[in-house]
Symmetry: C2
Subunit: 453 residues, 2 copies
């Protein structure tokens, strides 16, 4: 990682950026294959929009024009802290010009004025997919969102194995209500802390803060302990003996998501019903998602979301949606810093074209241009130094091939693989590097992980 | 264009965003073929960095954490207003880990707290390429930068013809000095206004403000009037009878750029030596670039830059550079709004897979998945409506093909081109759409331009 002169604002070196670009290209490819359209929203939103959800007000960066005292025409703008609130606003602004159900992906920087700490950044890239409809959104889109993000994560073959954890707010709220909990939301807020607080303390909080009896508290903790990779969670929940209509709806919905994602599991991505997942945010109304990397529990959930039936509303209509958001920076920066994840080279160039001498630069330019015309990235040596020094220019950048134009008329061109030392005659109008060397590749070396699980 | 609820912060509809993505993909491809590596810098820089260049202080957006009164740990941050100042800082921060000469491209949003007006935005995307070296940067990189951006613009085949205008600060400063101008910088600042102010007024300003004699002023205006598409400007300048060593260097350098770009001119991109181009920014020391679209003069220069020999310095070294910056938003938003420029469809999907009925959704999903496995973007109909209504779903999004899975076992799959109405039997494991329909295309319809030239 480069020198970070501003804490919480990570920047990547060129080779690291190639890894990030490769990840973004892969994500985009998956999303587009599933028909998701890209949008971007402005970075700034009115503060009253940003603060509407309440929970995050400490973390917003407020904007002020340096010389704006006198006019104040853009007072009250802040930088967006996620992509869900701006997307909701975009849908309302443009509802008349969008086709519903509307599938979109959105990859942008977001900003939070947090105190920087492990895994927390003040500027970071979020990758969101959502499907939003007008009035009603069929449940199969919950399955679709899970599948698309699951597939997108599966395609990132350098990732450690990960658990894609699914739950359903109706299931847990129905369970708490069926149990007779006086404050189902309070129970949910407490259970949401179950990863950070020991079960005994959770039980005490459920009794003292959420008004449950000790038996009820035990039932809630038991529910949160259920975790299955198939639909057997349904029987385990039923065995707890709680009944409620909303619980039944939740069980059915969750079973559909787990069933619908079964063929995704490829060893790297394990889809699980995990009944402790609650998500803090108020706007979720059904399916909820979290995602954890094996061996990287300290990162928390790197990919979260859920169903929101009433987040997006105006005077005329409601736009229910379901979505999931990948915290790309939170995922990638630790992997770059602590594993061997890197790019096979720090520049796009597959070939460095050497210079016979400075006056023949146009000839070397012509070779490079012939290569580029067939999609081979090429650069010309910066100076007509001795060939050994020109080869060093390629080596330092990881460029695999050096091209030698003829030093006198009639002689052939030659190209050298500087890794093997092999040098062969070649025609600039025909030669191609091996497919694997065409573009920089992501290299996942020895997976040195935390070992904290 | 969508409803813009915040003036100066343009947002694109999904179809318009597809055009923007296509442009960005094309630019990236050209830059990478030439060995330029991508970097991104953080959006926020310390205010003292941002204000170092002085000229732009009115336009900076200052950041403040909403709840930061008490700590003030990130007081003094502002949003970057261009990508050159942050790039200079990035080079200094990471000099030890970069390979020089360092070629980079950078595509990011920038922010300026300007009063919104035609062609001015508060948030917009800049596309920059630069080459920076340590201590010395060979002049051939000036030619390289011009060629790469020229090629990148040439590849955008929906653009109106454009003039890529090159000049050289050494040429004009040497001319003013050879003429005996007491304040060469003052002359340059006045000549920089020549597009906005009539020549007679320029002449008066040169005499009254820059201290020239009427004859000297005439010479300066004559110099600014020289514009050639080849190196004949050299003789035209010499004919003015002014002599100075710096003028000679500038003439040689400018001739090299014009000569080096000669084979770029393809009808759409005309490279010209234009001796009125001065660029307001203080840090340019040699080559300067501007770019104007035929018929869109009111947009001003959409792509500008130049050579800066001493912008990037620290206690140990100087990092001379040359670069050019394309104002993508300033270019694209007016073209989208005022010409027929659009995407052939508003979603990535080439195929909508119809539903026989809701229970057969898994079969339709399997068809879509088989298509995606061969790179064909596909979505499944949102609901099992009558086929006519499912076809309408595709029509409204511009999706060219609708796929009909068999309604009973043993029957074949069929696919319909909804533009021609042609419907044929097809195998989901083999069928491919025509190449032209694989991805959304950029469509440049009737070029309704301003006609202001």
């Amino acid at each position: 990682m480069p020198v970070t002169s501003l804490s919480g604002f990570p920047e990547l070196l060129p080779g690291e950026r190639i890894v990030e670009q490769s990840v973004l290209d892969s994500l985009r490819r998956t999303f587009e294959l599933h028909g998701f359209a890209s949008i971007e929203t402005r970075a700034a939103e009115p503060m009253d929009q940003l603060l509407r959800k309440g929970e995050i007000d400490k973390e917003v960066y407020v904007l002020r024009r340096l010389q704006a005292e006198e006019d104040g025409d853009d007072a009250g703008l802040g930088l967006h802290f996620d992509l869900t609130v701006p997307f909701a606003r975009y849908v309302l602004d443009n509802a008349g010009q969008l086709e519903f159900p509307f599938r979109r992906y959105q990859i942008q920087k977001v900003w939070r004025g947090e105190r920087p700490q492990e895994g927390r950044y003040r500027e970071f890239t979020q990758v969101d997919i959502d499907v939003v409809a007008r009035d009603t959104l069929a449940f199969h889109h919950d399955v679709e969102i899970a599948r698309v993000m699951g597939e997108a994560l599966s395609a990132l073959d350098f990732l450690p194995p990960l658990r894609f954890q699914v739950n359903n707010r109706k299931l847990i709220e129905g369970f708490y209500r069926g149990l007779g909990a006086p404050d189902a939301a309070g129970v949910m807020r407490t259970i949401d802390k179950i990863d950070k607080i020991p079960p005994a303390a959770i039980r005490t909080m459920l009794v003292e803060d959420a008004g449950l009896s000790p038996d009820q508290a035990d039932q809630c903790v038991a529910l949160a302990g259920i975790r299955t990779t198939d639909t057997s969670f349904v029987e385990q929940v039923r065995a707890l003996g709680v009944e409620h209509d909303l619980l039944e709806v939740g069980l059915t919905e969750l079973a559909q998501v787990v069933d619908g994602c079964r063929d995704l599991a490829d060893g790297r991505v394990r889809v699980e019903a995990d009944l402790r997942i609650a998500r803090g945010l108020d706007y979720y109304t059904g399916t909820v998602f979290e995602t954890r990397l094996d061996g990287w529990d300290s990162l928390g959930s790197i990919c979260s979301g859920g169903r929101y039936d009433s987040l997006v509303t105006d005077a005329r209509a409601t736009y229910p949606g379901v979505g999931i958001s990948l915290g790309l920076t939170r995922l990638l920066v630790p992997l770059l810093a602590r594993t061997g994840l890197s790019a096979s080279r720090s520049v796009p160039s597959a070939v460095l074209v050497a210079l016979v001498d400075e006056p023949s630069r146009p000839s070397s330019n012509a070779v490079a241009q012939a290569l580029r015309a067939r999609g081979v990235a090429a650069e010309v040596a910066p100076a007509a130094q001795k060939y050994g020094r020109q080869i060093r220019v390629a080596e330092r950048r990881g460029i695999p091939f050096v091209w030698f134009p003829p030093s006198e008329p009639g002689r052939p061109h030659e190209v050298k693989d500087i890794r093997s030392g092999e040098q062969v005659e070649a025609d600039p109008a025909e030669w191609l590097p091996p497919e694997l060397d065409r573009a920089p590749r992501v290299v996942a070396a020895g997976d040195e992980v935390e070992g904290d699980t």
